[in-house]
């Protein structure tokens, strides 16, 4: 069953995707599967093990189930300061 999720992109992922945000209809069961799906589709250079994931504005794990209506952000390596 397809779930509709919102994905926001920042920094290098935003540039590689060419947009800030999109709605995605996906069959991915987990956040990790969703990233792999998008990485292949958009040729993101960063492998999942360099990223973290946020779900509904808090940190999640790659094993977190994707539910209809979720808002996901894949976080490139941070570099504040």
């Amino acid at each position: 069953m397809k779930k509709n999720v919102r994905v926001r992109y920042f920094a290098i992922l935003r540039e590689q995707r060419g947009l800030d945000e999109e709605r995605v209809a996906t069959e991915a069961a987990t956040a990790g599967e969703l990233y792999e799906e998008l990485r292949k589709r958009h040729r993101f250079t960063l492998p999942a093990d360099r990223l973290r994931v946020a779900i509904n504005d808090d940190f999640g794990s790659w094993a977190t189930a994707v539910r209809d209506g979720d808002a996901l952000v894949f976080l490139p390596p941070v570099a504040g300061g």
Binding site: A11, I12, A54, D58, A79, G81
Partner: protein
């Protein structure tokens, strides 16, 4: 909110003054500034981008941890977003505590954790016209016009 993202210049002196408290004998501040060099390359400017809702949430968590671990009387952090010129203040941390040991440790903790955990990204602009997202280089592709992960601002 003691952890703030802002696209305006940071007034560090005001942040420190806001920590005045007759219990506080020591105030330690850290200011990160845009350096003109990173990984051997001449830097001309920086852009910071933040995932604001989570950056603020994680930043507040770090400040709470510092208050609890080190028993400080106050702790604040402000981080810039947007485009910054050389020498501009990128981040400012200020901590007040009864005595200096706690203030130094808490200030160091906050900047170290902020750099490691808060979802903020930095793009460096180099003198040769290239740009790069710091720490995002991969063998398969560059981080956006350059190569290698640089370091800047403290």
């Amino acid at each position: 909110m003691d952890f703030k993202l802002t696209d305006k210049p940071i007034d560090g002196a005001a942040l420190m003054a806001g920590l005045r408290d007759t219990r506080a004998g020591a105030c330690v501040a850290f200011e990160g500034r845009v350096r003109g060099e990173s990984g051997g390359r001449a830097v001309t400017a920086l852009d910071y981008e933040a995932y604001a809702p989570l950056a603020e949430k994680e930043g507040e968590r770090i400040l709470s941890e510092a208050r609890e671990k080190f028993g400080v009387t106050g702790a604040v952090c402000a981080h810039r977003t947007g485009s910054l010129a050389l020498g501009e203040t990128a981040v400012w941390v200020a901590v007040a505590a009864g005595h200096r040991d706690a203030a130094f440790k808490a200030c160091r903790y906050i900047i170290d954790e902020t750099k490691a955990r808060v979802p903020i990204w930095k793009r460096e602009h180099y003198a040769d016209g290239a740009t790069e997202w710091v720490s995002c280089a991969t063998r398969a592709g560059t981080a956006g016009g350059g190569a290698g992960g640089g370091k800047n601002a403290g």
